[in-house]
């Protein structure tokens, strides 16, 4: 025995040495283990545990928990500790499991080998080390700095967590560029426009559905898509038992399917319906006296067609009710509206009266549908103004603002911006905001809102300047922005682009370097905040699984690593800045990217978990406890506080006549030395004069004539889209019929049977939808849930580069069709938003 052992060992070693001498060592043949180490292993084997993190499958941002066994995610549920989503998670949350374990994820950094860029140029990506990737990026940035052209750097941001400012804001500023461009304008910015210019709130609202008796929903689908889907889905059974629900939407949404009233209006005419409802509320005397006030003589003088003397009405917490009536509402009867919107007069009246009678417990819920349109900002105002009429704003059973929370901003960048940076930052932004045709009046400040989709034109036309270095993260503008072909051109033009992403997508196709990103729900530190149910929560993103891919956290680790590389090249400002993100517990400055990620998070959330800084809401002992619970809840909502304290408008009142908008438009017009009317005309609005400042109806602006393009295209988002990132998961296709009217494994365009007969369209026909902008291929279906004269199709499919399941023939043929190929690049210019809805007509060709 002894002998044999000795012999075998010796021989093996001898052989090994022999090989090593011949080729092994010199050729780098590692005889030692490469894939393994022989450290002591712990096998848990005693079941798993629920770990707290956050879902960012949509901007509901639910606090969730992941069941983790042996380092692997098994299942997902809502975090029971959240008072916002109450332990619930929607169907999309589960698809995250198939994202994180998608074999097509980006696994290592890669670089392009084909110098030519274009839709038909295979990039030829090959793997590189993080070292090489970061060195290349740092060299490119240093070159900009050396040449004093840092403003030619652009950071494009898609979905983010609140760690965003590290990469989006601080890094861009310290390098010296004005060009951090967010995706917000392709989301739902116009939704905030109405609330801001009536009640001074530039934000998404929460809806007190527990106490509401009438819920009027405009182009939102709260039990299927954004926002607070988990919460509203939990509540909806209850809601339906105590409230009337009316849904305004040209197609039968999931929420409409369960509603008491479905109002399938002509796309884009929401404003007409809203002003008619206002007309009925006033003529029927159903407005809220406590909020709006009353006629001095106590009589109702709101009589159709009659002007009213402003001095006869004593207004309370609102401003301009009589002006609104005189300028817009007096003739906007249900009969007038019926023709505009294509609905029954009785239904309009019934809904208006139902809504009015429920009084302050009726809420008007504005979604993306009516507002992400060319003239959508006025729809946004008109629909939101109804909450003012009935006094449901800030009230029990009404529309609420977000509660207060106490997270901290990251340290300011100013001291770390050198002369080059300061000069660079003074240049104009690339998205055209603030120009005459793009007022982008975010929070009433001209030129402060982003015009995401217009960035492509800026890059193509080099206006205001060329772009030399770009970084995009968690975005796919090449797919998600209308008239996507412009993005092909724009990205082909940028000499150096980096894409930080979990999945390579159409944007990556045009990039030079790909950096593999950690998945937000399973592999990343961060936080998000959101509100519903009368609460706000701040919920933590945490790495909850063992990751076996060479990924890094997009918003923290990657900027830190770039900062290190820049420092090694003599530019230390960024790293010096990041080093000021001190860990509140140990008082230590971060030494590496991993420490930076967690210190930054602890820093920003310190007032929530450090009892010595306690300000309100849930109380934690320390970081460890907060991290385990995963979510902080605010104090409950204080109803009617703004009734007392005043609204954040020019008049401190709820404005039916928006002095706030008047001021903003005046500023913009003065800046361009012209009149407000000229601005409005340039921006494609119909209105002029005083009516520009009140909620009013504008004819929808739709591209394509009815004769050649008989259908108005109704785009809407699939309830399975995880921010457009789930197209490579099997479940997406297997359960696609959770979108009402859709079918499994297909991308469906839905036609009303009446139209189908007229145009000889059969169920299952392969068709092309063609607009003036482009075309797409999909499958036809006959369905009563769509208004005649329109064709409805979910957005989500049509990828030509996203992975094995997402495209039919990778790189060549898309699976299904991308709606953005047929939607033109148009804007609601006052808000800067991209138009998705009621903006284009199409024709159908059977193939």
């Amino acid at each position: 025995m002894e002998n044999k052992t000795e012999l075998s060992r010796r021989n093996f070693i001898k052989n090994t040495a022999g090989i090593g001498a011949v080729v092994g060592l010199s050729a780098g043949l590692p005889l030692s283990l490469k894939a393994f180490s022989q450290k002591k292993t712990k096998i848990t084997g005693n079941g798993g545990e629920w770990k707290s993190t956050t879902c960012q499958g949509c901007t509901s941002w639910c606090s969730v928990q992941v069941y983790v066994e042996d380092g692997r995610a098994i299942k997902v549920r809502g975090n029971p500790n959240s008072k916002v989503n109450l332990g619930k998670a929607c169907v999309r949350s589960h698809l995250a499991l198939q994202q994180v374990y998608d074999p097509d994820r980006v696994k290592v950094p890669m670089k392009r080998t084909n110098p030519k860029k274009g839709r038909n140029e295979d990039p030829g990506f090959i793997p590189i080390t993080w070292e090489e990737a970061l060195d290349t990026i740092a060299d490119k940035i240093m070159e900009l700095r050396k040449n004093h052209e840092t403003y030619k750097y652009v950071l494009m941001r898609g979905r983010y967590s609140y760690m965003r400012d590290i990469l989006y804001d601080r890094m861009t500023k310290i390098i010296g560029s004005p060009n951090n461009i967010s995706h917000s304008a392709i989301c739902a910015e116009a939704e905030k426009f109405g609330p801001f210019f009536t009640e001074g709130l530039w934000d998404y609202r929460q809806y007190d559905v527990k106490n509401a008796n009438y819920i009027l929903i405009w182009g939102a689908d709260p039990i299927a898509t954004n926002r607070q889907v988990s919460y509203y889905s939990k509540m909806w059974g209850d809601v339906m038992s105590h409230a009337k629900v009316a849904v305004v939407d040209p197609r039968l949404s999931a929420t409409a399917a369960k509603a008491d009233e479905w109002l399938p209006l002509k796309p884009g005419t929401d404003g007409a319906l809203a002003v008619a409802i206002a007309h009925v509320i006033l003529t029927e005397g159903l407005w809220n006296r406590e909020f709006v006030g009353d006629f001095i003589d106590g009589q109702n003088h709101f009589i159709t067609g009659h002007d009213i003397d402003e001095t006869t009405f004593e207004e309370k917490i609102t401003h301009g009710i009589v002006k609104w009536w005189n300028l817009e509402l007096k003739n906007k009867t249900p009969e007038w509206a019926a023709k505009k919107v294509g609905l029954d007069v009785d239904q309009i009246r019934r809904v208006a009266i139902g809504f009015g009678k429920a009084g302050s417990q009726s809420l008007s819920w504005v979604g993306g549908g009516p507002v992400m349109q060319v003239r959508g900002c006025y729809n946004s105002m008109a629909c939101n103004a109804l909450n003012g009429l009935v006094g449901s704003v800030d009230n029990v059973g009404g529309t609420l603002k977000p509660n207060k929370e106490y997270t901290k901003k990251f340290p300011a960048p100013d001291d770390f911006m050198d002369e080059i940076a300061k000069k660079g930052k003074k240049h104009k932004k690339m998205d055209g905001r603030g120009t005459k045709e793009f007022p982008a009046l975010k929070k009433g400040k001209p030129g402060s809102g982003v015009v995401t989709n217009h960035l492509a034109d800026g890059i193509i036309n080099e206006k205001p300047n060329e772009v030399k270095v770009a970084i995009g993260y968690m975005n796919n503008f090449t797919f998600s922005c209308p008239e996507s072909s412009r993005w092909h051109k724009a990205l082909s033009k940028i000499p150096f682009t980096v894409h930080i992403t979990t999945h390579a997508a159409e944007f990556t196709w045009f990039s030079d370097i790909i950096l593999p990103a950690a998945h937000h729900m399973f592999e990343k530190y961060g936080y998000t905040k959101n509100h519903a149910n009368g609460y706000r929560h701040v919920t933590l993103l945490q790495p909850v699984v063992d990751s076996y891919l060479d990924v890094k956290q997009d918003e923290t680790e990657i900027p830190w690593l770039i900062a290190e590389k820049l420092a090694r090249r003599g530019f230390t400002n960024l790293l010096d800045h990041y080093k000021t993100y001190i860990d509140p517990e140990s008082g230590k400055s971060p030494k590496n990217s991993e420490e930076f990620a967690i210190y930054a998070l602890k820093y920003a959330t310190q007032p929530l978990w450090d009892s010595s800084e306690y300000k309100g809401g849930d109380h934690f002992k320390n970081w460890a406890e907060f991290s385990k619970v995963g979510v902080w809840n605010s104090a409950p909502y204080k109803f009617k506080k703004r009734w007392k304290d005043g609204f954040k408008t020019e008049t401190k009142k709820f404005e039916f006549y928006s002095e706030t908008l008047k001021k903003a438009l005046t500023k913009h017009a003065e800046k361009h030395k012209t009149t407000i009317d000229d601005i409005l005309k340039t921006c494609k609005y119909e209105v002029h004069g005083e009516r520009a400042f009140i909620p009013h109806f504008e004819e929808p602006y739709i591209i394509g004539d009815e004769k050649n393009y008989p259908f108005i295209f109704v785009d809407y988002k699939s309830r399975l889209n995880r921010e457009g990132r789930s197209a490579n998961t099997a479940w997406y296709y297997e359960i696609k019929d959770v979108d009402p009217g859709d079918e499994r494994h297909k991308d469906i365009a839905k036609f009303n049977p009446v139209d189908a007969k007229r145009f000889n369209i059969q169920n299952g026909d392969r068709i092309k939808l063609i607009s003036k902008t482009g075309e797409l291929e999909c499958t036809a279906k006959l369905w009563e849930g769509v208004r005649p004269g329109t064709v409805a199709k979910t957005y989500g499919q049509g990828h030509w580069a996203y992975g094995q399941l997402a495209s039919e023939k990778f790189g060549v043929k898309a699976r299904g069709g991308n709606n953005n190929d047929i939607i033109p690049a148009e804007y609601d210019r006052l808000s800067g938003s991209t138009a998705y809805y009621g903006v284009v007509r199409v024709k159908v060709v059977i193939i």
Binding site: F12, I19, F36, Q38, T113, I126, P127, D550, G811
Partner: protein, 198 residues
């Protein structure tokens, strides 16, 4: 006799190890490794060496092919992960992956760096490790245990999917190198199974 086993095992160990290397991102030493593989395979399974030619390989074209086949970033043509063949969900980190991982754990091993536990190169290196353990064994019982472990691991993991994988690889590979690698891997594992069952 012992010398024979030892020689065979040493050769086997090398073949597994070099194959494992070949399924990692190609380095400068590809050609040299090929030469070693040839020597080792020749004395083990002479019929296999038709799959090894003495070409010099250009690293960049290998890298491109390697990426298309095994890495993406857009779509893997021949996924090198067991779970993609053993489970119906087309996912990494499946039940079968965890089973492999737990076997490594039981043998005192942890995955080093960023590797998916049922990546072909990891599974091949695991068998290499078991062969070395067999060689280093102090007694017959240990030797048999490690031989059995190789058999079982092949049977429960690698051999259950490697042939679908090599089929896909031989169809999708553009370069001679990966086509040959597919054929060699296929025939080698086949020969191994036969040899072990003898």
């Amino acid at each position: 006799m012992i010398q024979d086993i030892l020689k065979t095992n040493t050769n086997r160990a090398y073949v597994y190890k070099i194959l494992s290397e070949f399924y990692n991102s190609p380095q400068e030493n590809v050609t040299e490794l090929g030469t070693v593989l040839k020597t080792k395979a020749e004395s083990l399974y002479p019929q296999l060496i038709i799959h090894i030619n003495g070409h010099n390989f250009e690293r960049n074209s290998l890298l491109l092919d390697f990426s298309r086949l095994f890495l993406g970033p857009f779509k893997l043509l021949s996924p090198p992960y067991g779970s993609l063949y053993l489970e119906k969900n087309s996912q990494i980190m499946g039940e079968s992956t965890m089973d492999a991982l737990k076997i490594y754990w039981k043998n005192g091993l942890q995955i080093e760096g960023n590797r998916i536990p049922d990546h072909i190169s990891v599974e091949l290196e695991f068998i290499y490790f078991l062969i070395i353990k067999e060689i280093e064994s102090d007694d017959d019982e240990d030797m048999n245990t490690f031989r059995d472990k190789q058999k079982i691991f092949l049977k429960q993991h690698l051999a259950r999917w490697v042939f679908s994988f090599t089929k896909s690889l031989s169809e999708n590979a553009k370069t001679e190198f990966y086509k040959n690698l597919a054929h060699f891997t296929r025939d080698f594992i086949k020969a191994e199974i036969t040899w072990m069952n003898e």
